[in-house]
Symmetry: C2
Subunit: 307 residues, 2 copies
């Protein structure tokens, strides 16, 4: 296999999660947006991860990330405990409640982009405070494509900072419900219109088990979700989607519209693997061949004889 390129930078949270799933509970398993995104991206590139953990963060998790080809030299380790999230999912896994959110060392996270990373052409800003996302962009030299995720917490809490961020990114990746909240309208075509007027030239709306929509100029692409027979843990699916998507773009090296459509399918494939295991257990095992097989399954899933 050819050496993978280092064209993808991923900044976000690195966490230890306690999950209460219908199938059982799991204490202090690996989580965080940057972890899921970089593992998903590692199928295509050697992602450069920038994040922060405490001294409690297990060495074997760092070793696992490195073994998957993630460049962990930007992972800051400081005194204290790693970000810890605890949540409980509903029986059908469609909703969850947060039981604990202990920011710990993440509370003082100031992303420092190593000098060697500042020319990385493809940048993924995981779902963190918009000011941190902006601080990352301030340190980058003319990235080719910047994609960012966000959530209701920032839409409600820091709308002005989020507005600043939106002016500086190329692709907004966002949940459907939060897209509607941010746009202030319901109809999804109008939602996309408004999101694109806020700055990004591309909007990707994540719809969970209903797939994803890509809006770029007059083009709309509707990607199906893979019908997963046994969903174990939805945690990280959205981050795996974004990481897989941008990982593929980084491998190709250009973000033309056709590449973006294929990238959405690759992202959806990685998300489908993610939910098949608890924490990263499936995502960290999947091979490029598995991914290609699933990509072909998506092609069969979506195909009809066009005329």
């Amino acid at each position: 296999m050819p050496e993978k390129n280092p064209n993808l930078l991923v900044v976000g949270s690195v966490a230890r999660d306690t999950l209460h799933l219908p199938t059982g509970s799991h204490d202090y398993v690996l989580g965080g947006s940057a972890v899921f995104a970089s593992l998903a991206g590692s199928l295509f590139t050697s992602p450069r991860l920038v994040g922060i953990v405490g001294t409690d963060f297990p060495d074997h998790e760092v070793a696992m990330l490195a073994a998957r080809g993630v460049d962990v030299s930007g992972l800051e380790i400081v005194g204290g405990d790693t970000f810890h999230w605890e949540g409980r999912y509903s029986d059908d896994l469609t909703s969850r409640v947060s039981l604990k959110t202990e920011l710990n060392v993440f509370a003082d996270f100031q992303p420092k982009i190593p000098e060697a990373f500042r020319d990385t052409p493809f940048v993924m800003l995981g779902n963190i405070h918009p000011d941190l996302q902006l601080a990352v962009l301030d340190q980058m030299r003319r990235p080719e494509l910047v994609i960012a995720d966000t959530m209701n917490f920032w839409i409600e809490g820091t709308p002005d900072r989020l507005a600043k961020l939106l002016e500086r990114i190329d692709v907004l990746v966002i949940n459907e419900e939060e897209a509607r909240q941010l746009a202030g309208v319901y109809n999804i075509v109008e939602v996309a219109d408004r999101l694109l007027r806020m700055g990004p030239r591309i909007a990707v709306i994540k719809r969970g088990e209903y797939g994803a929509l890509l809006f770029e100029g007059d083009q709309v692409f509707s990607a199906p979700a893979y019908p997963v027979r046994r969903v174990l843990d939805p945690t990280g699916a959205g981050d795996s989607f974004a990481g897989g998507m941008l990982g593929y773009v980084s491998e190709v090296g250009v973000a033309d519209h056709g590449t973006l459509r294929r990238a959405i399918i690759y992202g959806s494939a990685l998300a489908s693997f993610c939910v098949e295991g608890v924490s990263v257990e499936r995502l960290a095992q999947v091979s490029r061949e598995d991914v290609e097989t699933r990509y072909r399954a998506f092609a069969r899933l979506a195909s009809f004889d066009s005329r």
Copy 2:
């Protein structure tokens, strides 16, 4: 244009609806599952409509149906008033409440299939009492493909009769929420497994603005929904979907898997036209050329470079 074939039979409700939409109210406009389904099917065939109306039913509505190529000779006209439904939609059109359901002449509906209709190969059983759906099948001679719609009312109220019906149909077309209710599980792959074990060899799950899923044997097809910029009235979208779908199958004449996939796209196209107007106002105007144009839009919407 070649003469359209009479290979589609549609049985269901014919109604006069009073609609309260965010954009205004409309009194006693045309509605009913058989009306939407036969109008949608009329793009491909000359559907044979079987239903019942009262003496209040306007002649011009009958004339409109006939002008669209619907064979109205099976439309029974009896003394009394036509089925009347009144409902109010939420501002975002995602939910509705029934204000009035006046069955009127529909209360005593006993579908009588005219002798000339009993060999029709493709049969659509709109969402009515399972016993009426069964009564239709008792009068048919070896139809090639029978599709039926149903709803929560029958799932809860007449489960045994519904079970009987399911054993005698080929295709179940059903809303996602009602499919989950009928199957008693949440995961959509398991839902489809269970539906297919109840009798039909094909399950079509309607997901509204998220499109539709087709399950047949090991094959799964995920169809997108058309992103409609201005939804005016969702009434009848599901019936237009089913009618358009089976109309296309009737035109082709065989229900192989590839035809079914294309049929789902045609059904989705008709549903997308339906919601663009109040009552049947858009559906009754649409041309075959409009439909083909929208079919091509679906192809662009769903396409990615498969490998």
